[in-house]
Amino acid sequence: MSIECPVSLDREKLKSEVRATYAKVAENPQGEFHFHRGPEYAARLLGYDLAELNALPQIATAPFAGVGNPFLMDSLPPGGAVVDIGSGAGMDCLLAGRRVGPAGTVVGVDMTDGMLECARAGANEAGLHHVRFEKADITGLPIDSGSVDVVISNGVINLAPDKAALLTELYRVVKPGGRLQFADIVVGRELSEDARNDIDLWTG
């Protein structure tokens, strides 16, 4: 089971709350939030390699707030084109950039200015010049149709009020034979009406 946005939830308000929450994470990753952040969490609960994360700029790793590990499913093709949906501070993009190498490209897409600043600084500090970041709504990607080998994402698709529109957009940008490999939240039991309408639950 996954989470569907209730009809009664104000979608613009949800988008605004998501943006505000992650702006706070970008500004102060050590602040009080109801979800984990950072490389130690990623290594301890999600199976990332802590040594590899510690080799990346802290500005990109400290705000990390993913919920799984897209890199466990399959390797990324050297020289390939990768897009990260809701790239946050860019930790997964930097990892992807190292895997595809300088002959490849990685584009991170996010709507939060603070996260984009962290991500661009991190890529610059890491010297990964084939990794770039774009500000956009993830249901309207600034990406050519059929141009992407692999779409990755980590804990973001559940934040989209209209998942069908988002998945249709992802299908548009992926090449024939390409794939999605992403992490997200799953819910094993039916949520109460109160829980479905609790914006705090959607922003984590």
């Binding site: 992403f182 997200d184 799953v186």
Partner: protein, 45 residues
């Protein structure tokens, strides 16, 4: 999610690797109540 991926046109959609992503957070209790976890998904075009 699998159904939504299939409806969008993706094939061979599946979930694997599950994560106790909210363990130790202030939302751990509600996450356990509703069996909320992180999961990896893969799907092909």
């Amino acid at each position: 999610m699998i159904e939504a991926l299939q409806q969008a046109g993706f094939r061979s959609a599946r979930a694997n690797h599950f994560f106790d992503s909210f363990s130790g957070t202030t939302k751990e209790r509600v996450a356990r109540k509703y069996e909320v976890r992180g999961a990896n998904f893969i799907a092909h075009k």
